[in-house]
């Protein structure tokens, strides 16, 4: 028979995304049977992170200090700001591109039908940055969903009002993909957003 504490551990592990009762049980048994030291480290770091990690004052990324590493760095380009929906989006851009500018995280997107408005996405903080910093370009990297498009449009209006150039990341056929297997909405978007081939 399982003790109560074991049941609590299994139940607690189920708060992780994609972890059902069976996976939670496997994780709990693994930690108890094979990796107690790892379990202690996990519990200590998790507890500290939950207590100390907050949001960066400038970009809203998770950080334990007032500013995140990007905002605190003097080597980043202050004339560009990339607006993304989630911390995962920011990490993807950081690892996949050579982007050296600033970021702003919305932590969501405009969704009128769900009652999510501009104030819920930290727009007042962004507007403050557009006013006080010498930003020349806002790169809007929201998802190509209906809500992401609505958010992008709101952001471009905001940028224009502050005399800042707003650009949108391109979306269309994935690299290595075949046109035959692309859905019609993606293909139509890619077709409408076609570029002139540079021959140089």
């Amino acid at each position: 028979m399982s003790g109560v504490l074991l049941d609590d551990l299994i139940e607690a592990l189920r708060c992780l995304p994609g972890v059902g009762p069976k996976s939670a049980q496997r994780m709990a048994f693994h930690l108890l049977q094979r990796d107690r030291r790892g379990g202690h480290t996990l519990s200590a770091v998790l507890s500290q992170a939950m207590d100390r990690v907050g949001h960066c004052e400038r970009c809203r990324m998770y950080t334990e200090g007032a500013l995140c590493r990007v905002c605190d760095s003097s080597r980043r380009d202050g004339s560009q700001i990339c607006v993304v929906e989630t911390p995962a989006d920011r990490s993807s851009i950081e690892s996949a591109t050579g982007y050296q500018g600033q970021y702003f995280l919305l932590l969501g997107h405009l969704s009128p039908l769900d009652g999510v408005g501009p104030d819920d996405l930290g727009m007042p903080i962004l507007e403050q940055r557009l006013t006080t910093e010498s930003i020349e370009e806002m790169i809007v990297a929201t998802n190509p969903t209906i809500e992401g498009e609505a958010t992008a449009h709101y952001l471009s209006r905001l940028a224009t009002r502050h005399g800042i150039r707003a650009t949108r990341i391109a979306h269309g056929v994935p690299v290595g993909g075949e046109l035959e297997y692309i859905d019609r909405n993606t293909l139509a978007h890619a077709f409408n957003g076609r570029l002139i081939i540079d021959n140089e």
Binding site: P17, G18, L110, P112, L113, D114, G115, G117, P118, I146, E149, A150, H153, Y154, R157, L158, R161, Y181, I182, D183, R184, N185, T186, A188, N192
Partner: protein, 237 residues
Amino acid sequence: MRVSLTPGIVLHQRAFQDHHSIIDCLTLEHGRISLMARGLRGKSSRRAGIIQPFCELLLSFSGRGDLPLLGAVEPQGPGRPQLQGTRLLSALYLNELILKLLPPLDPHPLIYRHYLSTVTQLPDCHIGDTLRLFELTLLNEMGYGPVLDYDTEGEALDADALYQIDPEREPRRIHSVMKQDDQVHGATLIALQSGAFNSHRDRLESRRLMGLMIDHYLDGSPLKTRAMLKNFHDTQR
């Protein structure tokens, strides 16, 4: 219930657990219905690009209870119209109207067809006129439409006269000039009836009239897209 490839349009999509979505749809034969789309948000989902709002699809679903399971989906007709900014929000406004006003599983083929033609026209039409005509069709089909051809006395409407609007009665002709939100000119009611808005006043008053009617039947529930459209306009200034 087992339905195979019936025409339908996605109105809204909500995340459910890690990889699934609940989609609210308007179908031609079954009216408004919510469906569980398993794996729609998964990394390898090929259906995410097809299951998009504002375009007609052929939807299969099966199951008992309030949330049938979405099965096969096939595209039908042209893809998603290219909508941006105010036009995109206006299309979301249509969706919110249907979600809030139309009861589930109550088919209205006329509303379905009018919705489809409205979103197809939205990329390059007069937004206000198109929205007013959709609002009118929606309320008329549900049996809540305003009376637009005679007044409380049974008299034909006079374009120059002022009328007081009561959402549940015929317009009442008034002789005093009291500027109130529930008063419109006869010309506005005639314009709404004919679908041809000839003046700025027709447009302003018909927007006010339809807003009054919709608010009455929403019974205090606010329209979030309407508030956001206003917010967009304020940002533009």
